[in-house]
Point group: C2
């Protein structure tokens, strides 16, 4: 089977001719029956040709070896490509990896094109920018998203995206912190923690890494964790509106979360990358909660607002009020990370970000978001009409569909095989996602309507 050729690649061509021996020195690659579908891409039955190969004497990073299979989204993409190879004529529709599909409004791309062209002129050329981002953009982000919340321009660190910032934040914290994550949650929190050495080994019986507090979020608790039974950790990753469940935490819930963090002395890393999708009065920023500046970092992104998934632009807020136990400002260490391990977001992308925050840009972003929210309604209505229990959707571009008692990967595979629609298996986001499938609303309207029809055929 094709899938067995590669370990952790998202590129179908990557290392395809490479034979890698799953020998006795790497017992971590042995797999349980239950993870069979995932682990086909981990085990390998290719012939052993290693006797002659020169190896260095550098030991593989043991933390890297803890990671299970590939990072989720490249893995999904790889399966999509494998499906396309099996069915070359299939009209595959991707509602999987949450990739934006609609063109970027022209007011924004014009600004980027102008900035690019200006780089050919003496007056318009600029080299290294401030690692933290251009002053104007930092100011525009602060005033647009945190206008009356006491966040200053200098608290904003502009970046090439929230995912990249999550890794830089993990680098800041280092190996010796304990972390909590919502279960299910965006896999970058856990995987970056594993890479940094914050976790123990993966325990296949419970599908969890050691030394991570998994905060179960399910229909029974309204997708907000039971904090009374949540262990104290140094860092709490919290995403609202949540990826993948689509649930947005209420003001009351976030107040509880901030109080919980304060009681335990924890730092919250609040991921608000979907904040602008909120339709009701749930907070769009953690800093709407009094006292949050002393306990929370917030990371966000232009990816899902302006279709910047490929353009790359995000930001992270580290308030001056946030202090380590010895009183040292977290922002000063994050600034050092940003200056040492990063060199600023592309100046052209930053020009785009500034255009996003102009009055016309904001309107254009809201229009795009409105379009995706209509898609969300179509998907929700479809699954509702088929009798499924459906969650999320209202405040997020993700619909979280329950398939009780079924394996997420089985459902994912069946949907792909029978409808040629790519979704995302819930268990890819943690054990709490088992029995769910995430359906993304990022798609052209015709494709979303067509996918809805195919779902109706499959589950009629």
């Amino acid at each position: 089977m094709q899938l067995s050729a590669s370990i952790s690649s998202s590129s179908s061509a990557f290392l395809s001719q490479q034979s890698w021996q799953n020998d006795s020195r790497t017992p971590k690659f042995s797999v349980s029956v239950r993870r069979d579908l995932i682990c086909k891409c981990v085990a390998s039955s290719t012939p052993i040709e290693k006797a002659e190969a020169y190896t260095t004497k550098v030991s593989r990073n043991a933390n890297m070896a803890k990671l299970q299979a590939g990072y989720l989204f490249p893995e999904i993409n790889r399966r999509k490509l494998a499906h396309l190879e099996k069915y070359p004529d299939a009209q595959v529709i991707s509602l999987g990896i949450g990739d934006t599909t609609e063109p970027i409004p022209e007011v924004i791309t014009s600004a980027m094109a102008e900035r690019a062209k200006a780089l050919s002129t003496l007056g318009g050329y600029s080299g290294y920018g401030a690692e933290q981002g251009e002053k104007k953009l930092r100011a525009a982000i602060a005033s647009t998203y945190y206008g009356d919340l006491g966040i200053e321009d200098s608290d904003i660190f502009v970046s090439d995206g929230a995912k990249c910032d999550i890794s830089r934040l993990q680098l800041l914290f280092g190996a010796n912190v304990s972390i909590a994550v919502q279960d299910p949650s965006y896999p970058a929190y856990v995987d970056s923690g594993v890479i940094l050495g914050q976790t123990g080994q993966f325990d296949k019986d419970v599908e969890k890494y050691g030394n991570i507090e998994y905060m179960r979020c399910n229909p029974e608790n309204g997708f907000f964790p039971d904090l009374s039974s949540t262990s104290k950790t140094d860092v709490i990753f919290f995403c609202s509106p949540n990826n993948p469940t689509g649930a947005a935490a209420t003001r009351e819930q976030l107040t509880q979360l901030v109080q919980f963090a304060k009681k335990n002395g924890s730092i919250i890393v609040y991921d608000s990358a979907y904040g602008m999708y909120i339709a009701d009065d749930c907070p769009r920023s953690i800093y709407e909660i009094p006292g949050a500046k002393e306990v929370a970092i917030e990371t966000s992104s232009f990816s899902k607002y302006a279709g910047f998934t490929g353009v790359r632009l995000g930001w992270t807020v580290v308030p001056k009020e946030l202090l380590f136990s010895d009183g040292f400002p977290v922002a000063k260490d994050f600034n050092r990370i940003v200056c040492t391990c990063f060199n600023g977001a592309s100046n052209i992308s930053q020009a785009g970000g500034l255009a996003c925050l102009s009055p016309e840009g904001l309107k254009a972003m809201r229009d795009v978001i409105g379009f995706y929210k209509e898609n969300t309604e179509i998907i929700m209505d479809t699954f509702n009409s088929l009798g499924f229990n459906v969650y999320g959707g209202k405040n997020a571009p993700y619909v979280w569909v329950h398939f009780p008692g079924q394996s997420s990967w089985d459902v994912f595979a069946e949907i792909l095989e029978k409808t040629h629609v790519v979704t995302t298996p819930g268990s890819g986001f943690g054990p709490g996602g088992e029995g769910f499938v995430r359906v993304s609303s990022f798609g052209h309207r015709a494709n979303v309507l067509e996918a809805a029809e195919r779902f109706k055929q499959l589950y009629k």
Copy 2:
């Protein structure tokens, strides 16, 4: 004094109102007399106001606390800004941080502008790209720079710059490797190693971190380390043409280096970001040396070739032949890092990179490089005519000027104070840089000529 307000910021405004107490719990901030100039930005004499401040219970990452002062280049920039505040009317010329100044050739910016505009169209829009970079660009890099060296497209990982890749490579290696660096060298190698926990504390007596092998490169050894007295380490960072000395290693020297790595089982991280500046027959890539694919990673960048310091685009080559001691391919783990901690370079920047590698783009890049090389000659001639011993320059955009017996920071400060020209103190690149100053040739011609005149006035 102004400089004392901030610890590690490159933004003059950053945390300026923040008072940070240099109290007994942070003895690492106490400073020796010798590092006085650097450490003015570390110690603080602002009043203590911390009694009321809430602190989390999260301990500061001890590795971050090991770092000395701020990252070098933001620090230089901060001093430039402080100088400008002191002399608001001074015509400051920056030959300091190695920042490109010449407009990007139009054949390249047009391609970026077109790509940006296309993102507003249904056919031209693209979201998430492959984390490893666009296929066409990977292929163009492989054929342009490694045409007959056996490097495949899939060995190339496109990135937002070599500096960022250095940190991702360090993340890949983890805390338990030992590293060697040229002394002097680009500070990102050492600083990222400190952050990852590969090093011991900084020893002020020798100006070195523990557990790093500093390979002294000086005029006496032709700026190539004495490998017979170099300790074995897991990883060897090697930059040629070197930043800051400007020295390019010969084929014979690099053959020695590869043999040394092979003997010890080490991995070389070869930084070829200045490769296109080579004027003689020194290798432009480590892969010109037979056997290098089994021992070396190479990282490079469009920054100094096409003026992409602000656009952000680079790449790293991890050959499939490079294996950890257990036979696991290094490229597979690097691919996992890239997929988990990064989301690809901006698609607009990648369009620029592809244009760089077209026949017109290559010619345009060579013209820009030629211009900077003329600057280099002006600077070299100037210092030569003044009787200094001058190194580098021939194969690199950096001139390495010897001030025997003097402190680099003193020389840096004197030049800035008396000529309003920003340089870079050699000791910022490691103890082996003490007594040297790096003068960058990135500047408008008129500024370089003016700086040369001022140097002649100062040292006549």
